[in-house]
Symmetry: C2
Subunit: 385 residues, 2 copies
């Protein structure tokens, strides 16, 4: 059910020819209220696609009536023509829904530089057909329409004493088109203000999507949007809602990691006993972005030397000669020297757990990543050719 699991939302997914495969490529999610509160987070890349530039303005007042999403073209670096396409998308949706264009959020994903007249015509067609097909059970179709190289749709639902959080996501960490764009729409029928949604969303994304670092490449189109209808009539305590939202975000993030098609391992890098949470994140991220480490995991090689060399490039507070490193529960390095033999480690399962004990404090963080594989290289060298 994804985004239509909570009360007060309609959705749809239609095929208008943006994808050469003929699969669904435009999704619409509409908030029927009574509340129309919304919050969103956007890529921090300075190179932002036109839908990002538009949606940042549209969300500013904390109100959103609907989200229109397309796959099959990023509409990024397509100049003023591309921005007009996004504008027209919002105008057309607003007109058909009888609302203001400034309350329509737009998201796009696909190849950078794609956004010509044909693209525009098809997206506008998609808006009309998508709105015509809106349904309170349309969440699954919407989640399919935002897929690109995703092998499966990503959906999550969390229900909590009368109110529900539902979400859909697209992205395949390592090989999604163009730049592994991540698009997420999350809905809830809890009755919360825009500012509460914003607080909850920033916390939830910080510890979920922001810690998924499949290949270190940041997209021009990443966007996570949260809509609240208030249809349950219930106003949960913010920490309770935030926890539910976080669990949906973590569920979706793990689905994104697990669908990194080029990958053969889903790696969780858990950093413990750090002096601060930011130190733990910095250390985990340094490992997640180290190609030599990632290639070693592909080769089922518990190469702790590459872990130590990767974290040695950080500014986090720890003694590199007093660190322990475990691979799948086997401590192969203790106090910066060899411990149990590498042969004791079994790296054949897809799920891989690296534990890094910094012995410098009490904070912790887990970064999710994937290995560096032949398929990653293949898919990303062949994509736009």
């Amino acid at each position: 059910m994804s985004v239509t699991a909570p009360q007060g939302f309609d959705a749809s997914g239609v095929a208008v020819g943006l994808k050469s495969t003929g699969k669904k490529d435009v999704a619409v999610v509409v908030n029927r209220g009574p509340r129309k509160a919304a919050a969103a987070v956007f890529t921090s890349n300075r190179a932002k696609a036109n839908p990002i530039l538009w949606s940042q303005q549209a969300i500013a007042d904390g109100v959103a009536e609907a989200v229109v999403l397309n796959s099959g073209g990023a509409n990024c670096f397509t100049g003023s023509f591309g921005f007009q396409t996004t504008h027209q998308t919002a105008e057309r949706a607003a007109e058909l829904l009888g609302v203001s264009a400034g309350d329509i959020i737009v998201c796009s994903t696909g190849l950078i530089g794609t956004g010509d007249e044909v693209f525009r015509a098809r997206v506008l067609d998609g808006v009309e057909r998508g709105i015509a097909e809106l349904s309170p059970t349309g969440g699954d179709a919407a989640s399919e329409a935002i897929m690109t190289t995703d092998s499966r749709a990503k959906r999550a639902v969390h229900t909590h004493e009368g109110w529900t959080v539902g979400g859909m996501a697209k992205g395949a960490g390592m090989l999604a088109p163009g730049l592994a764009t991540m698009l997420v729409v999350i809905t809830t029928d809890a009755d919360l203000s825009a500012s509460e949604l914003d607080t909850a969303l920033r916390h939830a994304t910080r510890v979920s999507f922001d810690r998924l670092d499949s290949d270190g490449c940041m997209s021009t189109n990443d966007q996570v949007t949260l809509l609240a209808s208030g249809a349950s009539g219930l106003h949960p305590e913010l920490p309770v809602f935030t926890a539910a939202l976080t669990s949906v975000c973590l569920d979706l993030a793990e689905q994104l990691q697990g669908d990194a098609e080029g990958a053969s391992h889903d790696i969780a890098i858990e950093v413990v006993r750090a002096a601060s949470e930011s130190d733990a994140v910095e250390v985990g991220r340094a490992v997640a972005r180290n190609n030599l480490f990632k290639a070693a995991i592909f080769g089922n090689d518990p190469n702790w030397g590459r872990v130590l060399a990767a974290i040695g490039t950080t500014t986090a507070a720890f003694d590199p000669y007093d660190v322990d490193v475990s691979f799948n529960g086997v401590r192969v390095c203790t106090a910066g020297g060899p411990d149990r033999p590498r042969e004791d480690v079994d790296l054949t399962p897809r799920a891989t757990r690296i534990l890094i004990d910094l012995k410098s404090g009490t904070d912790t963080a887990t970064i999710l990543t994937n290995d560096l594989t032949h398929d990653y290289v293949h898919e990303n060298s062949a994509y736009s050719s």
Copy 2:
């Protein structure tokens, strides 16, 4: 001739069984004077191998009598036993040469964690045999003894009105053992003080080796050592010497790039019209470290969208919507939008040139890198297995 091209230097390369192939694995370079001035730069990784920890102390007084280098083991994260191995290496060489151990520089390369009793015994054997075989024509043998997965020895010589700079290097940017360790020894018979050498070396490495960023991974063992014998009796002006030294460093850096065995393209990323040199370096490095860009080059795909997305993550001063990008002389992106068709670009040659025009100033920098290939993944996943 490499390091024995300048007057006043003897060198050797011997095989003592550190390499399972039976090839040369210990090199010795001795400065016969009359001057024994020296300078060195070291990895900035906080995880430093024992030879780095030793050599940083040994070089501090600006005097070095000799450099002992081994391949076949990094002697990193081998604890106090490993440090004692380095210490004993210096002691043995000093004893045989009749000098102080504190004037012996030691370098190692190979797998992290390698440095047991057998390793120590072989290295000490190599010191004895290497010193016994020292010769004023031993530079070539020395350059072979430091090779690891290098497919060829790297040497460069620059002669200038009576004085000479000679160098040797090991490293194969993308797939060298462990962590692409770069070891370089440069000699000169120019008569310069340690502080002049230090100034010249820091400038030369800043614009050469520091701009070679094959896979973003920093080794625990990187070291560049410069020895001056003064045997020519000539004291060149420092800028003249620095220029000669820089040309030797650039020559060696390009040889390292060209021998990245896993690579199919040598990529020069030239950033022009930057607001500062550091901005130019930051922008070039962001592209050099972007796996999606690197995989696209492997696929002969002039994917300028990935270039713009990569540089959008930097803090350099420029307008991402006003940047030009050329691939091998063909401008495919102008002012943040499409320009000439991608079909006009020929990316089949190994030598690849990316030009990024930031239109924000007058500074420039060129970063050297390689593409991300199947062979890179293969060699780095199979290395220690």
